[in-house]
């Protein structure tokens, strides 16, 4: 046991050594510079190259941005103003075009005296989303969430108040149908009734009922045709609708795809893979050229509605794939526990499976949404006046013929702000949910 030790050097520290500051310049500003920018020759070179790059970019862009005119009424006037102010060789930005066309870039041809309507509509939509997006909002705001889907379109398109009421009544009918049928024939028939009754109502009676009510009690606001929608309002309308509708549809598609029922699964897989396999632009072509062919003769519905349908379909397929990932990540035990407690399929999905699967899928869902919002610019290719489309028609104006960077820059900036804040929000959400249960 003993004698084998070279060191029986037992040692006990009698005095503890306190924290000491590090010896070299590894802290402080200089230390930071050394560690982060000039830690090696390669790094130093990279730093210098980066600095040069940033410098060159700023030198090229900054004077142009700053040497600008906000007041001119045409491109030539603007150029003159800039030459007058900053010298004959200078070129600068004509932000004046943004000032002059600001309201058009935002609202398109929406009648200017009722700009409050789209503003109120998007306010309502945000209000409706708030209780879903942020946990701190009181539960009562959920009423707004329920009302928003009817309120927002009505505010945007105007017309009789009875139409949204009639549409909303369809949901009441559906619920009633379920309550009447379900106890007697069971959940599945109940669900079918809940689906069928409102569809019949909407297709056959809702329009007439709304018309009739309008006769009796004319209540309404000035209707605005969707041809007048344009600018960011159009992007947001399409984006927001597609985003909100694609979530439930995507969930259904994802559930269908996970289903053990072969035919249901095949149909869902087919739809998802088809939609994901083709570019959005071809789907927009369908909306624009073919959707009217698919409808009974002489139905001619709004191009914006058609576009919204296709963009929603597109978003749904992508959301479905994201949610499928979330569903797959859920342990089997959760399903079994729900079964063992006697929850039926839909209740288990709603109470147990979806809340968890959605939580897992949030980053994916949000990036899908960002993608959808960005993709709304494609509608300019089929001639709708979203911001990109609008920039073309502004350029068609003799006064602003030849203006390029200011418009693209402005539009890009706006999109950047929207998309960037969405992605930051998703990070915030992820962080919050990660710590949520701990």
């Amino acid at each position: 046991m003993s004698g084998t030790h070279a060191h029986s050097a037992a040692f006990v520290r009698d005095r503890m050594i306190p924290q000491e500051p590090p010896p070299d310049r590894s802290i402080g500003a200089l230390g930071w510079l050394r560690q982060n920018l000039f830690s090696s020759w390669l790094n130093a070179a990279l730093t210098l190259v980066s600095l040069a790059l940033i410098g060159a970019l700023l030198a090229a862009v900054l004077p142009w941005v700053v040497h600008s005119s906000w007041t001119a009424n045409s491109l030539s006037e603007c150029r003159e103003q800039i030459k007058a102010a900053y010298g004959p060789e200078e070129s600068g930005a004509c932000w004046a075009v943004i000032r002059e066309r600001w309201s058009q870039l935002i609202f398109g041809f929406y009648p200017s005296e009722i700009y409050w309507r789209p503003i109120l509509a998007f306010g309502t939509a945000l209000g409706g989303l708030a209780p879903v997006l942020f946990p701190g909002v009181p539960r009562r705001a959920l009423y707004l969430t329920a009302a928003a889907p009817f309120l927002v379109p009505w505010l945007l398109w105007g017309g009789t108040v009875w139409l949204p009421v009639a549409v909303a009544f369809g949901f009441v009918l559906g619920y009633a149908g379920f309550r009447v049928v379900a106890p007697w024939a069971g959940g599945i028939l109940g669900a079918i009734a809940a689906g069928l009754v409102p569809v019949l109502w909407w297709l056959l009676l809702a329009g007439k009922a709304a018309g009739g009510l309008q006769e009796i009690l004319p209540l309404g606001i000035e209707p605005v045709s969707s041809r007048n929608f344009g600018g960011f309002m159009l992007s947001i309308t399409i984006g927001l609708t597609a985003i909100t509708l694609s979530l439930p549809i995507g969930i259904l598609l994802a559930l269908g795809r996970q289903s053990r029922m072969f035919i249901v699964k095949v149909i869902c897989v087919g739809v998802i893979e088809f939609v994901r396999g083709v570019p959005l632009i071809t789907l927009l072509f369908v909306a624009w050229l073919l959707l009217n062919y698919f409808m009974p003769p002489n139905t001619n519905f709004d191009i914006i509605l058609r576009v919204i349908i296709m963009v929603t379909l597109f978003a749904s397929a992508y959301v479905a794939e994201v949610i499928r990932g979330g569903l797959a990540a859920l342990p089997r035990g959760q399903y079994e526990a729900a079964d063992a407690l006697g929850l039926d399929y839909w209740k288990a999905q709603r109470l147990i499976v979806m809340p968890q699967a959605l939580k897992i899928s949030i980053p994916g869902i949000v990036s899908t949404f960002i993608g959808v919002f960005k993709d709304t610019t494609l509608v300019s290719i089929i001639g709708l006046l979203d911001p990109v489309g609008f920039s073309n028609s502004i350029r068609a104006d003799v006064n602003w013929n030849g203006i390029v960077w200011e418009l693209y820059g402005f539009i890009a900036l706006m999109f950047f702000i929207f998309c960037f804040s969405m992605s930051r929000y998703s990070m915030y959400l992820e962080r919050r949910l990660r710590t949520g249960h701990r």
Binding site: E336, A337, D339, A340, G342, D344, K359, H437
Partner: protein, 259 residues
């Protein structure tokens, strides 16, 4: 195992049949997992099922509340035969509570919500009443103070007790336990076993897959030994442990107790 003194005379068994399994067979694909199972369990019985891994213990109790489908034979629970009829399945499931090895609590709900979920949505109990019931059972498993935490914040033993409380909130007549303690650290096993003993004392019909032989001796009125999908031996605990009749049982017991 548990040090709690238990008065076995208080554990009564009634004559009414709770579960009856007749000539039941089950296959996974071509693999014959359960072979000709015959078993009658009376109200108030406390059955412990044991046997080597893969012998079909879990499958057996999962058949009882139809988490798995059997292919031939008959299972009657509380007078209701388990067929493909959804109504019957729902009825049976609300009579039978089940506790899983890995608890399977719902991590996105608080403990209280875990416990009130099924009563509210399946039994259609008013929320207030459901909360009262839940608190009653949470007290019973001695964690009422955790009611508003999330499962992730609890230790394994506490989680398993919540799982038991969650089942009890549906006021089942029969409880199934599938190795409820085998995912737990030694200190926590006792907490859970105590809770189960308490349940047994109150006359609950229980079927429990476990290798806690102390628990079996103390609580069970019958021990069933399974191997290769069959019931190989069943007997009262004393007789089972001290005097196993089959060779396989003896072999198995020697491994388990020597461990």
């Amino acid at each position: 195992m548990s040090d709690t003194a238990i008065d076995r005379s208080r554990l009564t068994v009634s004559d009414e049949v709770a579960i009856q399994i007749l000539g039941m067979n089950k296959w996974y694909g071509a693999f014959h997992v359960l072979r000709d199972i015959n078993l009658t369990i009376n109200k108030g019985e406390r059955i412990v099922v044991c046997g080597p891994s893969g012998s079909g213990k879990s499958t057996l109790i999962r058949c009882i509340n139809r988490l798995e489908e059997h292919q031939s034979g008959k299972i009657v629970v509380d007078g209701i035969e388990l067929t493909n009829d959804l109504k019957h399945i729902d009825q049976v499931r609300s009579e039978v509570g089940m506790v899983f090895q890995h608890f399977n609590l719902f991590p996105h709900l608080t403990i209280l919500e875990n416990c009130t979920l099924a009563p509210i949505w399946v039994r259609k109990v008013p929320k207030k009443e459901a909360v009262e019931t839940a608190m009653y059972y949470l007290e019973k498993v001695k964690i009422p103070e955790q009611a508003n935490k999330y499962p992730g914040q609890l230790s394994g033993g506490q989680q398993q007790r919540v799982a038991i409380a969650r089942s009890l909130c549906m006021r089942p007549n029969i409880m199934l336990f599938d190795e409820p303690t085998s995912a737990l650290d030694p200190e926590m096993i006792k907490e859970v076993l105590d809770t189960m003993i308490q349940l047994a004392e109150e006359g609950m019909t229980m079927i429990c897959v476990t290798h806690e032989m102390g628990f079996a001796r103390q609580v069970a009125n019958r021990v069933i030994f399974m191997d290769q999908g069959q019931i190989v031996e069943q007997n009262e605990p004393e007789a089972f442990f001290n005097n196993p009749r089959s060779d396989r049982t003896r072999l198995f017991l020697s491994q388990i107790l020597g461990h």
